[in-house]
């Protein structure tokens, strides 16, 4: 246990020195502020309270931003140790590879949680300040918060796996960007194209829901939108998504962090220093 916390402490300190903590927080806070300001124009037309509207736009933002921040923090985690030449010595210590990885995960997750909490917190304060009814949206904000942390954990795990497989920082960075583009941007475009071509057939009814649940980012979006029906009006992907039960998307966002971490450990075990 001390081995895990010691690793987490050191990793957190390194992230602090490398400005990763400051950068993640600044990024989340800045986007939350911009969305709060932009969200004010939409209020009234939808009929929801102000915070619920902001949460809806925060959700579509988090889908892009949280995985990006998580991948940026994690792509160097193992490749960096390999390149610096610090890994051989580390692996001769009594700490096991899962322990080392768990220590890193704890530190990075703490930073991500901090960034998410501050960013969403700013949005909440801004909404509450001008709209007393915004209290109604607090529960969906809280849901968005912890599901964002789970989404972050998933992409941290994926980032570690990439880092272990690439063994070079530059290669890992390329893979991380490629994966982000693929899972977050191209995946949805591909599904959309398939749905249009399929025109309500087998794909739309059977494959599409499964495909959405299989992608951690889509499952995250589904869960947050489905859980708060009031905000689905502001969402892009809905329609067919409405047929997917909440428990299914919840299961997906709960299982993905575990699966991603297991993949990361398996990849890390394959690294020979």
């Amino acid at each position: 246990m001390t081995r895990i916390t010691a690793t987490a402490e050191t990793e957190f300190r390194i992230a602090l020195r490398n400005r990763w903590v400051a950068m993640s927080i600044a990024m989340m806070a800045l986007f939350a502020l911009v969305l709060s300001a932009a969200g004010s124009s939409a209020v009234g037309t939808i009929g929801a309270d102000r915070l619920s509207v902001v949460v809806a736009s925060l959700t579509s933002l988090a889908v892009y931003l949280v995985p990006l921040v998580a991948l940026l923090m994690s792509f160097d985690a193992i490749a960096g140790e390999v390149e610096r030449g610090t890994l051989p010595l580390l692996l001769t210590y009594p700490a096991s590879r899962p322990e080392l990885l768990l220590g890193k995960l704890l530190a990075h997750l703490a930073i991500l949680t901090l960034a998410v909490a501050i960013g969403y917190g700013i949005a909440a304060v801004a909404a509450l300040a001008v709209d007393a009814d915004a209290v109604a949206g607090l529960s969906s904000l809280w849901r968005l918060m912890w599901s964002s942390v789970l989404l972050g954990a998933t992409f941290l795990g994926i980032g570690y796996a990439i880092s272990a497989l690439a063994r070079r920082s530059s290669g890992a960075a390329g893979l991380a960007i490629g994966l982000w583009l693929g899972l977050i941007v191209l995946y949805d475009l591909g599904l959309l194209a398939a749905i249009i071509a399929d025109n309500g057939g087998y794909f739309t009814t059977k494959v599409f829901p499964a495909a959405l649940l299989a992608n951690p980012a889509d499952a995250f979006r589904l869960y947050n939108l489905a859980a708060s029906q009031a905000t689905s009006a502001a969402a892009g992907v809905s329609g067919a998504a409405n047929t997917i039960p909440v428990w299914a998307s919840l299961t997906s966002i709960l299982l993905w962090p575990i699966a991603a971490f297991a993949i990361a450990i398996a990849a890390f075990r394959k690294v020979t220093p």
Binding site: A6, I14, R84, P88, T92
Partner: protein, 298 residues
Amino acid sequence: MTPTLSLQCLTKTYGAQRALSEVSVTVAPGERVALLGHNGAGKSTMMKIILGLIPFDSGDLQVAGAAPGTAEARRHVAYLPENAAFHPALTGLEQIRHYLSLRGESPSLAMDLLQRVGLGQAATRRIGTYSKGMRQRVGLAQTLIGKPRLLVLDEPTSGLDPVSRRDFYELLDGLAADGASILLSSHALTEVEARTDRILILSGGHLVAEGSLADLRRMAALPITFHVSPRQGAMAEVVLALPEAIASGGTLTLSCQQDQKLRLLARISDLGERIADIDVQPPTLEDIYGRFSKRAGQ
């Protein structure tokens, strides 16, 4: 006494390249063993295998009574890598505190360890600002954590100044006196000679010689060289008396095997007044080393 380290017929290949061929070594508690060999002889490879960092093809290996790389073995073994590297953003103190925690020791011992390797002053500076020798000392400091039964040190004195080297070997003497076994690799023959109990010479992955320096000297059986300077005008007479000598300039050079040394010396001293000076040169460490360590094609 059970050995701290025992290798039996250890073989390791990288693809088609043989890095180690049937190497057998044992190291007893408290023993200081030096591993010598040309670049690419397989020293670092052997050490990484002992630490369980890389797998081996065949043979048998026991480290502190356990299989290499197991949690049990790692608890008892300290390692200094060839090019000790650390995260540049951490200070020496933070790095050592981290290593202490990983070994389950109190982080408050860090300053004491850094002072033992002479880094007390720079402890709170970032490692990124350290010189090569200072980084090497951080590496040494972390090998002193806990009470390792085996220290595996890959070129520990590279980058250290002469005074630091002496201090370092004194540190090792203390550890060995407490029963720790030490396996270190080096290219500096002279320092290894006085400071280790046994020398192993690897050449192209084969263990070609093993023993104390006196043993190696005997096994190498290299000739001793005499430089004889005859007195003015006595050159012709001396050359006649020592027909096997090779003349160059004003001196004659002879060589003989170890067991012929006294006979030759007697013959030279029989010449009495005719000899101005005599200089006896035993084989140097480099000669002995070169006798065993032959690279392919050398």
